[in-house]
């Protein structure tokens, strides 16, 4: 299963090389995880940091944010999430099969 997602992700990255390079220049790093199993697909961080972001941000907080938005308005849907903290800023983009987090 992961290989299919990995292949699809590589296709998307290939098609958006310019955007990817521009984002990667500015960012401290990025994490991509698949939604089905909340497993790490691709990252520029070390494994511990990436696993921490996947576990807390993707698996726990993102699911809660999505359900809160759904509770507020049943027609609505979470498209993007920015969490600004003292040191970093997390930009979380939940897609159908992947979740991408960029850390500024």
């Amino acid at each position: 299963m992961s290989k299919i997602y990995l292949k699809a992700m590589e296709d998307v990255v290939q098609r958006n090389t310019d955007n990817t390079n521009r984002i990667t220049e500015q960012a401290q790093g990025f994490v991509v995880s698949e939604n089905a199993g909340d497993s790490l697909l691709h990252t520029s961080f070390d494994l511990t940091t990436a696993q921490s972001i996947v576990k807390h941000l993707h698996a726990s907080f993102l699911k809660l944010a999505q359900s809160c938005v759904r509770d507020l308005d049943t027609d609505d849907k979470l498209c993007f999430l920015r969490v600004k903290t003292r040191k970093h800023e997390f930009l979380v983009s939940p897609e159908e099969a992947f979740t991408v987090t960029v850390v500024l």
Binding site: L64, D71, L72, D73, D75, L78, R82, T85, H88
Partner: protein, 101 residues
Amino acid sequence: MNRILEKVIHQNGTIVDRILSEHTIGYVVSDNTANAVAETSFDNTSAQAILKHLHGLLVSTCQSVVRDIDPSNKLCFMRLGTRKFEYLVAPEEYFTITVVQ
């Protein structure tokens, strides 16, 4: 507590007016200790929903998530972009402010 809020709003009157005059749909300011709506432009039902879900559940969970990832870090601001709206949530020491645009 509401006197502090009124003083803050008065001091920042021009900023508040600018925020409200552009694309904003509304705002909610809630008191953290009493967990109640201190000031809002919405009707009570919408304000209570935002208070319960965004201020109560989402802000507290996000604060603990940020602490879990890096114990010396701290949540400053949150933006949720959805299909219809965008929620801008600013958790402060005594108040939590949400602007919907």
